[in-house]
């Protein structure tokens, strides 16, 4: 359980980090919070020649209001999200999600950009990025680009990021007034990988759903939206809509797999049920 040897560099600017990644030619790996990379190194599932530590680049940390939303620097610690007033006021869904990410001890190191860009299908932050229609800012020596979360994930631990690109920030647009959000998951113990779960954003105007976003975690090779269920809810009236049916429809749009933790059938059935229960509780309590 010891990592294979590697070279270590600790750039103090984004530009220097990008130079290292460009020179690394796909064999350099970014170390952010390390809460996933360190186990991968210890298990020798990752054997990079160069580890580029981005923890000492001040420009990559911090939370600010920007462009009608909240901009979170990639190296912002997950623990910071839980106490940040800007997040609490303008992106509370992010804090709801982070409460389910790992444990106290891993959130003190783990970063928002790291978990979001890793693309673990059962992780909370990728599904949150999808539900909130976040924009992911990626930089390389070739320039900067903004990638919609919906276009970002291509498979388990796979994204559209090029080997020389670095996620530098994530932008979470403000939700319309009257939006209730929730993050709900089923896990055997707190901090375990979710067996099923979802992030939902429900906008209501005078009791009528006007905008709905549903993103599942642990229900496919990537986090997945449920476009049919979202469309089916819009225009319906709270109190008259059959949320159990919507839950079943939403879960039927996913692509879960059988593994040692749960069967695909379990994930769909449990997903539909917790959807109905959690959404009705959250909307009644609003």
């Amino acid at each position: 359980m010891k990592a294979a040897p590697f070279d270590y560099v600790v750039p103090d600017s984004v530009e220097a980090a990008l130079d290292h990644l460009a020179r690394g030619a796909g064999d350099a790996i970014v170390l952010a919070g390390g809460q996933t990379l360190m186990p991968l190194l210890a298990l020798r599932m990752a054997t990079p020649s160069v580890v580029v530590d981005i923890n000492r680049i001040p420009a990559l940390s911090g939370i600010s209001r920007a462009d009608g939303g909240v901009r979170v620097g990639a190296v912002t610690r997950q623990a910071t999200i839980l106490t940040d007033p800007t997040v609490a006021a303008h992106a509370p869904t992010l804090a709801q999600a982070v409460r389910n990410v790992g444990h106290h001890q891993t959130r003190n190191r783990g970063t928002v950009g790291g978990s979001t860009s890793l693309g673990e299908p059962a992780a909370e932050l990728p599904a949150t990025a999808l539900a909130l229609e976040a924009m992911i800012e990626a930089r390389s020596v070739r320039g900067v680009r903004q990638i919609a979360a919906g276009d970002f994930y291509t498979g388990p631990y796979s994204t559209v990021l090029e080997p020389d690109e670095l996620v530098t920030a994530i932008h979470y647009p403000d939700l319309p007034p009257g939006t209730v959000t929730l993050v709900h998951e089923v896990a055997r113990r707190p901090g375990d990988f979710a067996l099923t779960g979802f992030v939902g954003a429900f906008t209501l105007d005078a009791g009528v759903f006007t905008r709905v976003r549903i993103a599942w975690l642990a229900m496919g090779p990537t986090p997945l939206r449920s476009p049919k269920a979202e469309a089916a809810l819009v225009g319906q009236t709270l109190g008259q809509v059959d949320l159990a049916e919507i839950g079943r429809l939403a879960a039927s749009e996913t692509d879960p797999m059988d593994d040692g933790h749960a069967s695909a059938d379990y994930r769909r059935t449990a997903g539909a049920r917790v959807f109905r229960r959690a959404v009705s509780q959250a909307l009644e309590a609003r």
Binding site: L31, P39, A42, A79, H103, H104, Q105, T106, R109
Partner: protein
Amino acid sequence: MSDHKIRLTVDGGPVSKTVEARKTLGDFLREDCGRTGVHLGCEHGVCGACTVIVDGKAVRSCLMLAVQADGTEVTTAQGLAAKDGTLHPVQQAMADEHALQCGFCTPGVVMTMAALTADGARPTEADLKAAMSGHLCRCTGYQGIMRAARKLAGVNQ
């Protein structure tokens, strides 16, 4: 392959060493600093036994490279008690509540509780319980650990 010179504070004392890039903070503390009170269980971030405090935060020392600790202040379970041997309040609570059996997970548990109660902070029982989810005790002695946590949270029992 690269070696790095690092300077940090370990349990209040200055340390200056050269480390291989791949060495974890946990291995560094045990092998290079004599802190065998840092217990490495799973070595990949699952068990929590290796938890230490880095710049005031409880972190898993197997999930951090030693070189990343350059310039930081690290506290291990061996740095908690007073010089005269008086136990830290967390250690005393653990002893009072018989909150350890084999003792392997104990240093990690103690460091998380110490971080959460530092500087007179009074975490709620729920906070402590949530934080304890990051520790596995294979003796399953969780009730004793939670009694110690409740004592630290000031909950009457």
